[in-house]
Structure formats: C-alpha cells, structure tokens
C-alpha cells in the first residue's frame, strides 16, 4: 500500500518535476546564478500557478541566498516549504465526525466524497455519505454509484429537496446508528453567489446544532488547473464555512496546483489531500515535503 501511494504521487508530480527540474539543473549548489537562470526559474514557478507575488518572493530569496553563498536550490526549497506549512491532520474528537466537502462547480467534490468514503472504510471506520447536492441533475445518482463502490451508506432525498433538511436528517440518523464519519457532498457553487453561500452557512449552523462542533472539517475542493482565482474562492468559502483544508484534485494532469501554496500562505488553510485519478483509491494524504520535492526534483 505504502509503495503504491508513493508511486501514485510520483506519477502525479512527475510532470511538475520535469519542468522545474530542467531549470534547476543549471542551479547547482556552487553555481553563481545568472539572470537568465532566474528568469527560467520564474517562468517555471509561474507556470505552476504560484502567481506573480509568491514567485517574486521565491526569486528574491534565491537572489539573497546565492549572494550569501548559499545554495540556490535550498533557497527555493525552503521558501516553498515554508509557504506550505506543517503537515496537517485533523483531530477526531467527536462521533460522528462531520466533514463538509465544498467548492465551485466541476472541481470534483462528488468524486472526492466517494474516495474519502473509501479511505474511511480502509481505516476501519463506519462512513456515511450525505447527498446534500440536491441541485445538479443526477448528482444523487452519481453518489449512489460511489456509495456502492466504497461500501458507505448513503443518505439522500429527492432532487430539489432542501439541503438543510437532508443534512439534518442525516446527522440524526448518523448519531443514532453510531456512524464514525459523515461526509457531506454539497452542491457546487461559485463563491460570488451570495444566496448559495448563505445556504452553505446555514448548513453549517444546522450541523452545529445537531452535533457538537460540527462541521469538524470543511474541505475546499480546488481543481489543480485553477489559476489565481483559487485564492478568491478560498477567501469567500472560508467566510461562509471556516475551511480546515484543501483537496487538490486532478493532479494527475499537467497542472501543478500552485495556487494551493498561495492559499496556504495567505489564509493558512493547508492542503490535506490530493486527487490523482478517477479510481476509488486515487486520493492521497498530502505530503508537503514530497510535493516540494516533486516541484524541485533534486
């Protein structure tokens, strides 16, 4: 299992590795860094969606380090690593442990919920999936398949039902049935839609009323292809439901998801999981060291 996880992450990040590695190939620890190399490095970081601000910071750090005889590679690594913060896990102190999965449309929330359910099951916990996306056509059917695949039970109502009522019923059921983890799949919503964000806030209030401290986790699903708008998304979502983590999905493509670093830096919301495929076990706990090494490939 451990090996396969390693392989998957390596596969997911190998393309990231290629692009920045080739740049840093010229950045040996002893080599003086010329402007051209810095420009290439800048291009590599920008291409990874780190955004102009964070990129400028990394470049500045490299300049300073090399001036004081340090290693340029170490400078890049430490700046990126610092931006990512410590590896995070969420303490489980309540049963049921309630997790909201939120995000804009098309990021991969439903798929992530399915995969999270599989992880829970693997950890020997009883998971329940809650179909609180009652808006998108066939979202419930999609979750039914994931529920079958992961073996987690599904709580649903008809399409168009009030999501608050779905969550309320689900938490009642979860408490009485001794469920360990409740995974709530919420409808995709653009962070600019005030009504939908208010609805999300309400879901949080309902959960808190039914289970103490709920939602214990609010995971924002961010598509790795997302550009700098990812930060605005995170800012708005955390206003409606305080985010505890980011799930970076679709990292098996060529996109690097660098905006997650921007989110972590500006808001302190860490990446918790990465999605690297469409399979049930294609969700991995985020390993910041591996991610940065993947970016650097030293």
């Amino acid at each position: 299992m451990a090996l396969s996880i390693f392989k998957k992450l390596a596969r997911g990040l190998s393309r990231t590795r290629e692009s920045i590695a080739s740049t840093l190939g010229g950045l040996g620890s002893e080599a003086a860094v010329d402007e051209e190399t810095l420009e290439d490095l800048e291009a590599g970081l920008l291409a990874a969606d780190l955004g102009p601000e964070l990129t400028a910071e990394v470049i500045e750090a490299v300049r300073e380090q090399t001036a004081t005889d340090g290693s340029a590679v170490a400078a890049v690594r430490s700046t990126l690593r610092a931006a990512l913060g410590q590896e995070q896990t969420c303490e489980r102190w309540s049963s049921p442990h309630v997790v909201f999965v939120v995000g804009v449309n098309g990021g991969g929330k439903t798929t992530t919920v399915g995969k999270l359910a599989a992880l829970e099951r693997e950890a020997g916990r009883k998971a329940m999936i809650v179909a609180a996306d009652t808006f998108r056509a066939a979202a419930i059917e999609q979750l039914e398949r994931w529920s079958e695949r992961s073996g987690a039970e599904l709580v649903k109502q008809r399409e168009g039902a009030d999501p608050a009522a779905v969550v309320f019923d689900a938490l009642k059921a979860a408490t009485s049935r001794g469920i360990d983890t409740v995974l709530v799949d919420t409808a995709g919503r653009l962070h600019t839609k005030v009504n939908l964000m208010a609805e999300l806030e309400k879901l949080g209030r309902i959960a808190a009323r039914e289970v103490e401290g709920a939602p214990h986790e609010v995971l924002l699903v961010v598509d790795a292809t997302t550009g700098q708008n990812g930060l605005t998304q995170a800012q708005e979502f955390t206003r409606a439901a305080e985010l505890t983590g980011v799930v970076l999905t679709k990292l098996d493509g060529t996109a690097k998801g660098g905006v997650a670093l921007v989110i972590q830096r500006k808001l302190g919301v860490p990446v918790r999981y990465v999605g690297v495929g469409e399979g049930l076990d294609d969700l991995l706990a985020f390993d910041p060291d591996a991610y940065v090494e993947g970016l650097l490939a030293v």
Binding site: A48, G106, Q142, E159, T192, T226
Partner: protein, 445 residues
C-alpha cells in the same frame, strides 16, 4: 482582491504626467504593472511576454497626446493589443452546413462544464431555429448520461436515451441515426471529460472525429483555469483540430486570462460563454468585453445591454414623461427598483462599472431593494401616489404589513422626497439642453 489594472497603473502614471514623451524608464515601470496584472489574471507567461513586447514597441517614444492622460494612452495600446490577440468578433458562428444532421462534438477536461454546455447550446440552437438532438456519450463518469437526459429534458430538448453499455462511437452513431430518422438537423455529442495526456482517451476522441465527421468540435474550458490552459487546449487542438471554444463559469469573478492563452495557442475563436447554471445562461462571446474583464476595467457594454434588456422602452418613456411633469410616485419608484433587480444581482451590475470591479456583493445590500419594495407593497395605491397622507397610524400598519420598522419607512419617504427634488432640479436644467436618461436612484442601506 486584485487591484484592477487601472488602479495599479496610477502609481506608474504619476511619474508620467508633465512629460512630453513616454520615457523608457516610465514605460518599463508601466509594463511591469501590466505584466503583474495579466499574470494575476492567469494569462499565460508566453502571451504576456509577447503582449508587453508589442506594447513597448508601440508606446516607446510616442508623444503623450494632450487629449488623453498618458496613462490612458498606454491602456489604450494595451487594450488594442489584447483585442488583437483575442481576435475578431465572430461570436456564436457555428458551421452547420452540409447534409443534415450536422454534428457538434463537445470535448474538454473533467469538470469544465461539457454536459451543462451541451444542454445550453442545444437550447440556444433551438431558439435560433434549429432542431437539436442531444447524445450523451460519457460512459465513464457515474450518472453522466442521466445528467444530460435530465437537464436536456428539463430544457424541452430531445435526448438520445441508452444504458451506456456500448462504446462512445457506437452510441454516437446510433444517436445520429436516430436523429436523422426523426428529422433533427443538429446533433450535439457530449463526451467524457478527459486529461489531454491520457493517450487512450484522446485516441477515443480521434476515433469519434474520424467516425462522425463533426462540423464543429468545441473545446469547453473553465474560465478559472490557470497557466495550464495553454497545455490542455494545445493538446486537444493538436489531437482534434478544434473549431471553437466555449468559456464556462464566467459568472464567477475569475479574470479569465485563460481565454487569451487558449485563443493564442489554438488560434480558434471563442464562440460562446457560459454565465450561470440556468439553461438560458449561454451567450455569444464578445472579445472587447473580455478585454475589459481581464484588465479589471469593467464591462460597460454588457451593463448597457442588460439595462436595455430589463428596461421596457415604452415604460421608460412613460417614466421620463412622469418625471418631467413631476408626477413620479412611489409606485414608479418600486417599478424602477424591480427593473434594477431584473438586471441581475446587484454585485454583478456594479462589478461591470469601471473602477468598481472590486466591490463584492457582500459589500452591497441586495436586501435593501427587497425591503424597500416590501414597504411600498404594503401601502395602499392612494398612499403610494400621495405619500403626504401617511400619518403615524398608517405607518404602523405599513410597518406591520412589510415587517419593517417605522423609522425605516420614514427614511424611505425622506429619500424619496430628496429624489424627487433632485429630479426636479435636473429637469429644470434639462429643459435647456437635450433630454437625458432618467436617473437611477439606488436605495440607501
């Protein structure tokens, strides 16, 4: 969150004032700001470089025109270059010639919005006199077929129903055959989302293209995409020679720099934009508006169009007449507010105004309009026409009826009186000149 380009440029331009020519040093500062703004808008670095290069060439040494602030002059050059990069205004042009049914293939990454776009495009085509038939060919994502059947049917469109047990090419062929038999002239095929580096699935698309000979292959792209847009769009284009792009989720606040990147790397036009989850929220693409958005400079054109849509010409004329005769009543005021609401969420209206793109919906109070309308709704017609008859007892009744408080009612009446005075003074001014558009009062918080 992001400063708009025009705000960013203020600093750089301060140095520019009083100079006869745009100096190299100042131009460098200015272009750095342009570069940052474009990168924050997710425009691909390569495109940014090309663009700033072109602007530098055009602006270097250029005389600072008297009629324009020097800053505006550089912005003008940036705008022109951006518009050139985004291409001609051939929005909404689909090539559907040939023996019917014409086939449109929709392709793209996972989650970009293909299924929703398929249904929206179907509805748009139907509105424009075609007979569209939808074929769901995503056999991979759970419940994707059900989704298109549901969304399509809700939109009053015909969808090819099947159990998803066959290969996409077989499904599409059977779907086209069914469409031909029933006399549909356009077939929209919704394909599965896939990564551009997934060779097997890209081969499947090549097979669909070879087997179906689609007239149009539309690449559906999320407007929130970052730098990777160049690679994904480029790969799809290399594999399929796409004919157009649909840019989705533009109802968010992403600057949409990906539009530039995609256009640049593929050279194909962006044909449509998706603006919401409702079936009618698909519009032809307008490059000039996109430029304003990428630069964070507002979208006045869209605002004007929205206003025109929401405002009934006749109604507007009548209102103007009333204002001129000073007969504007609370009833008319209420109608105006309702019109404003029809134009969409207040934030989207305001965000289209130059310099106000950073105003968040949460900074405005969309409920203010609702409250004011509620108060006016709770009045009798006579009270609406003659608010001076409102005494304490009437106000209490209105407060109960509308769920508001008496002070709120007083505030509204005061504002309304002010508005009328303003209208009157504008009227006396307008008598001499040409008649202006009637003012659009916004309620206070």
């Amino acid at each position: 969150m992001f400063d708009s380009l025009s705000e960013r440029l203020q600093g750089a331009f301060k140095k520019l004032t009083g100079q006869a020519r745009i100096s190299d040093a100042v131009l460098k500062d200015t272009l750095r700001e342009v570069r940052m703004a474009l990168l924050e808008a997710d425009v691909h670095l390569g495109v940014v470089k090309e663009l700033t290069g072109a602007v530098r060439e055009k602006a270097a040494g250029e005389e600072v025109l008297k009629s324009l602030a020097p800053g505006q002059q550089v912005i003008k050059i940036v705008r022109e270059e951006l518009e050139r990069l985004l291409g001609q205004d051939d929005a909404g042009d689909l090539d559907l010639a040939g023996k019917p049914p014409s086939v449109i293939l929709l392709v793209g990454l996972q989650g970009s919005g293909k299924t929703t776009t398929t249904a929206k495009l179907g509805a748009w085509l139907k509105k424009n006199g075609r007979y569209p038939y939808l074929v769901p060919a995503d056999v991979y994502r759970p419940a994707a077929i059900e989704q298109l059947i549901k969304v399509g049917t809700q939109a009053g469109l015909k969808v090819y129903e099947h159990d998803g047990s066959q290969a996409p090419l077989e499904i599409a062929k059977a779907g086209i055959l069914a469409a031909r038999r029933s006399g549909f002239d356009t077939v929209l095929i919704d394909t599965a989302g896939r990564l551009h580096i997934d060779d097997a699935l890209m081969d499947e698309l090549r097979g669909l293209k070879a087997g179906l000979e689609p007239r149009e292959i539309l690449f559906v792209a999320d407007s929130m995409t970052g730098q990777d847009a160049v690679r994904s769009a480029g790969e799809f284009h290399r594999a399929l020679e796409i004919t157009g792009v649909v840019l989705t989720k533009l109802d968010g606040d992403a600057r949409g720099g990906a539009a530039l990147s995609i256009r640049h790397v593929t050279g194909v036009p962006i044909k449509f934009v998706g603006l919401g989850e409702k079936i009618a929220e698909l519009e032809p693409f307008h490059p000039d508006r996109m430029v304003g958005r990428i630069l964070g400079m507002g979208d006045v054109l869209t605002l004007i169009e929205k206003a025109e849509e929401a405002v009934d010409e006749k109604q507007a004329e009548e209102l103007e007449k009333k204002i001129r005769k000073n007969e504007f009543t609370l009833e008319d005021f209420r109608d105006q507010l309702k019109m404003l609401k029809k134009m969409g969420p207040l934030s989207s209206v305001v965000s289209m105004l130059p310099g106000m793109s950073h105003v968040k919906e949460s900074d405005l109070d969309p409920k203010a309009i609702v409250r004011v309308v509620a108060i006016i709704d709770s009045m009798t017609p006579r009270e609406r026409r003659y608010p001076q008859i409102l005494n304490a007892s009437r106000k209490r009744r209105i407060a109960r009826g509308s769920g508001r408080t008496a002070p709120e009612i007083n505030r509204l009446l005061k504002q309304f009186a002010q508005m009328k005075r303003m209208m009157k003074s504008m009227q006396s001014g307008a008598k001499k000149g040409k008649k202006g558009r009637f003012p659009f009062p916004l309620p206070g918080r």
